[in-house]
């Protein structure tokens, strides 16, 4: 009996995916059976795709069953490649032409990252429209949301997704596996121009440097930013060293599920148990000049709880939160955006400062309060944000000059 490989998923609730069962033989040619919901519309295209992949891997004799529930070509190709890898060990990559929109744009290191949406790396259905929800970043996750036996096929699927899916304005992020496995993930991911690599369970700066070295070796034209995720007591204690390990670090995130487990407490919605850890991260990040990013809020149904948590998170100094459901994005973003009072106060401060400057005054005051430079800087930052989100007209100065 020859070995049979299985890749992908099929079943009542599975959509936009396919399952491939494949075995090799020495004669008999290609025996391909396609069972597809979209056979009358795409049967011919699926058939020629499979044949092309088999030619690419020089497979001439095989039995293949494809059970399809409306998978796009990039999904079918990833599943085929995974099935073939299992049988032959051939690591040659079969790549479909990249979609025009799948090009990475170079984003700034300090780009806003209020929301980053986690998407399981082996569930095509959840990936297809991921860009429409307008998260600042979309994380294709290879780590905790992928079952250990599915790691291999998820890596191929995520690689193909980076070439096929329109992420619109979201940063293209990938959470690799815990090192050292994650370093091998990078070999397939880096050529597809991700914007950001998230390194889970980072405990020491060595972890970050290993990833940075692997990226440097790949010799990419574009900068790829790193976000280490700190999820242990040791990581917390090393947080400044981690945050300042390399200039490629854009932000440091905290992972509270694992951290609370590591400390031996249960996670609460109010989060007292992680207060120290979170403050430590915020401080380390500010000292290192990178963004501190908060963990996720895991009760998808509890919107008031989510808002509470995001408001608290912002007040601690975090500059963004993870989202595990698209429905969380707008609530989190609203919390991290400057409020209308904050914007108005900032405008008054900047207007007063500019007015004093033009008059050559040394001391600036607004009402009874002295305004010094850090206050102005903070106000300018809030104004910049407000303008970016359309909360403030570009010509706001006119209004404040009148007053």
């Amino acid at each position: 009996m020859s070995k049979t490989s299985i890749a992908g998923n099929h079943g009542e609730d599975i959509r936009s995916d396919c399952l491939i069962k494949m075995s090799l033989s020495t004669k008999g040619g290609i025996r391909l059976k396609i069972e597809s919901r979209v056979e009358s519309m795409y049967g011919d295209q699926i058939n020629s795709l499979i044949k092309d992949i088999l030619r690419f891997y020089r497979i001439r004799n095989a039995e293949i069953l494809l059970q399809d529930s409306g998978a796009l070509n990039f999904v079918i190709a990833a599943r085929m490649e995974a099935a073939i890898r299992q049988l032959t060990g051939d690591t040659k990559e079969y790549l479909l032409p990249a979609a025009a929109w799948a090009k990475a744009i170079q984003y700034e290191r300090n780009r806003i990252r209020f929301t980053r949406l986690y998407v399981p790396g082996n569930t095509p259905k959840l990936m297809l429209n991921v860009g429409i929800h307008k998260a600042d970043g979309v994380i294709l996750d290879l780590e905790d949301s992928v079952a250990p036996v599915k790691k291999g096929e998820a890596l191929l699927l995520v690689r193909n997704a980076l070439r096929a899916i329109n992420f619109y304005q979201s940063e293209r992020m990938v959470r690799i596996n815990q090192l050292p496995q994650g370093l091998d993930d990078l070999d397939l991911i880096l050529p597809q121009d991700p914007n950001v690599i998230l390194i889970p369970k980072t405990e020491t700066p060595v972890h970050v440097k290993q990833a940075a070295d692997r990226i440097a070796a790949a010799n990419k034209k574009r900068k790829i930013w790193l976000i280490p995720i700190i999820e242990s007591a040791l990581g917390i204690e090393n947080s400044f060293l981690i945050a300042s390990a390399t200039p490629a670090i854009a932000a440091v995130a905290i992972g509270l599920e694992d951290l609370t487990a590591d400390i031996g407490v249960s996670r609460t919605k109010s989060g007292e148990e992680s207060h120290y850890a979170r403050m430590r991260i915020v401080n380390a990040c500010k000292a290192a000049g990178v963004q501190p990013l908060d963990s996720v809020f895991s009760d998808v149904a509890d919107t008031p709880g989510l808002i509470d948590s995001a408001v608290r998170s912002k007040s601690l100094g975090f500059e963004g939160m993870g989202c595990i459901h698209p429905g969380q994005i707008s609530a989190v973003r609203d919390c991290f955006m400057p409020g209308s009072e904050e914007v108005a106060r900032s405008c008054r401060i900047v207007a007063a400062f500019e007015d004093a400057e033009s008059k050559g005054l040394g001391v600036v005051s607004l009402g009874s309060k002295m305004i010094d430079l850090p206050v102005v800087k903070r106000a300018l930052a809030a104004i910049e944000l407000a303008e970016k989100f359309g909360l403030l007209e570009k010509n706001w100065r006119k209004e404040y000059e009148k007053n």
């Binding site: 959509r15 529930s69 429409i132």
Partner: protein, 519 residues
């Protein structure tokens, strides 16, 4: 078998010159067909033929059918007030089959998966064909060319029109009611099997030759209110259970959980807000279907924020609409069918929750109807083409799977919006041509997808209204291109020549023909 002669209608679709042996009129354009005759009149009954004490009870449905003269070739009507919990249609045809009756025409107001029970009767010739809707398994059966006659698909309004115009002569109407008196006065409001209203049976009661009212809750005369008037009724029958109310709610009558669909709904709400549709005193209708229902929830949010009240909402009622009525966000709920038991409860106790019928809401051959008075209607579609034509009955693989419902009738609303995903499990929704034409593009104003909004170029007012907005506006061709880039260009469905069903327009003319799937 001789091939039916065909002709092209005004929409460019090839339709048969006759259907089930009766001549048919091709679609001539919207509002172009003008019948120059009187409405159909039923036989004049005489009071002295009926029991003077008003007691029309007979022991069983079978007795009622026999006394109604059930024989080969008759047209039998039933209704879908219990939706997937309908028990009557299956019972009636069980009896007909047992009696060896053949070639019946089933004229339901809608069919549901529970009616797959009837497939053996379609196979053995008890039922010749269906005029109404062919959902799920019945649609698949029809598409495979297995039905003896040609199926006829009509809208809810079109059904009323067909009956009053005499296109369909109902021999026996079997009306299930949750409350009735021996005289035949009946409603769906009270009793253990309350299902809401009986609007879909109204035409049948008025025009059918014989009318049977079946109930599991017989009350003494008078049964109030009489949604169906006993003066039209020949026989009343009491059964143990008239319908399964737990099956009224189905998948399409719950709000979607899908984040992608919720995004669509949110975008639809924003669009309506931006163009000024949501204003004090406005009216709206959201169809069944998870996305449409979610749009209603976004309307609620916007209305609350801006302190806006709607004069009325139309459509199938459900817990969501009822709560808007009870919160005072909507003044009147003009209800065509109840989609859940909250709707049933509200209709029974709230005078502002009003039962309507296809006559008041949708009938095209009457002196106006309510559908045109609605400011905005949110509907679904299986396919839409680059000319804004839409399909609701077949899938892109050619299979007939849904009925028209009130969809065609609602197209006469002031603004028609179809929020649809750009593609579903690889199948593009926006394409060069629809597989089956159900709604002419001239009546469809806005297509909202997760990847952009296309406004029909004839709606220059809407285009102007959103010009300065941040809404993601695209052309429909652009959306079609993107769908094909993502999914690949699908091969068109493969059909044989044989026509298995026809799609009627609201005026009774033939809009399109559905052919046997070549599989």
């Amino acid at each position: 078998m001789k091939k039916t002669k065909e002709q092209f209608n005004a929409a460019g679709r090839s339709v048969p010159e006759s259907v089930n042996g009766k001549p048919a009129i091709p679609f001539m354009g919207i509002g172009k067909y003008r019948p120059e005759r009187n409405k159909y009149g039923p036989r004049i009954p005489v009071c002295s033929d009926y029991p003077s004490d008003g007691n029309k009870l007979v022991p069983s449905i079978k007795d009622a059918l026999i006394q109604s003269g059930l024989h080969d070739g008759m047209t039998i009507s039933t209704h879908h007030h219990f939706r997937n919990g309908d028990l009557l249609a299956n019972t009636v045809f069980d009896i007909a089959h047992e009696m060896g009756i053949k070639d019946l025409v089933w004229f339901p107001s809608a069919s549901f998966p529970c009616h797959a029970h009837l497939i053996p009767y379609l196979e053995d010739g008890t039922i010749h064909h269906i005029e109404g809707s062919m959902n799920g398994p019945l649609g698949r059966f029809t598409s495979r060319g297995k039905m003896k006659g040609v199926g006829v698909l009509r809208s809810h309004g079109g059904r009323y029109q067909a009956v009053q115009d005499g296109e369909v002569k109902i021999d026996i109407a079997v009306i299930g009611a949750s409350s009735a008196d021996p005289f035949g006065n009946a409603n769906g409001l009270y009793g253990p099997s309350a299902s809401g209203l009986l609007g879909f049976a109204l035409a049948d009661s008025q025009y059918a030759d014989k009318v049977i009212v079946v109930t599991d809750n017989l009350v003494d005369f008078p049964c109030i209110p009489w949604q169906i008037q006993g003066n039209y009724v020949d026989f009343t029958v009491v059964v143990d259970k008239v319908g399964d109310t737990t099956q009224i709610v189905s998948g399409t009558t719950r709000i979607t959980n899908s984040p992608d669909r919720l995004y669509l709904a949110e975008l639809t709400g924003k669009f309506c807000d931006e163009v000024g549709i949501i204003h004090n005193g406005f009216s709206f209708q959201t169809g069944a279907g998870g996305t449409s229902l979610a749009v209603g929830e976004y309307f609620r949010k916007i209305m609350k924020q801006k302190n806006i009240r709607a004069r009325f909402a139309r459509g199938g009622s459900n817990a969501y609409l009822v709560s808007m009525l009870e919160e005072g966000l909507v003044e009147y709920l003009l209800d065509g069918q109840t989609f859940d038991l909250t709707g049933v409860r509200s209709m029974a106790e709230n005078p502002k929750h009003v039962w309507t019928s296809p006559f008041t809401s949708y009938n095209y051959h009457s002196k106006g109807n309510f559908a045109g008075l609605v400011d905005v209607v949110i509907l679904g579609a299986t396919e839409i083409d680059v000319n804004f034509n839409a399909n609701v009955v077949t899938h892109s693989d050619g299979y007939l799977l849904h009925g028209i419902g009130g969809w065609q009738n609602c197209l006469f609303s002031k603004t028609v919006i179809l929020p649809v995903p750009l593609f579903r499990d690889r199948v593009p929704v926006i394409r060069d041509q629809v597989t089956t034409l159900c709604g002419p593009g001239d009546l469809i104003d806005v297509i909202i997808t997760e990847r952009g909004i296309a406004i029909n170029p004839i709606r220059t007012d809407l285009i102007k209204a959103v010009k300065k907005s941040h809404l993601p506006l695209r052309t429909i061709e652009d959306l079609k291109e993107e769908a094909e880039q993502i999914c690949g260009k699908p091969s068109p469905a493969k059909f044989k020549d044989k026509i298995v069903a026809v799609v009627k327009w609201v005026d009774g003319t033939l809009l399109d023909a559905i052919r046997q799937v070549d599989a």
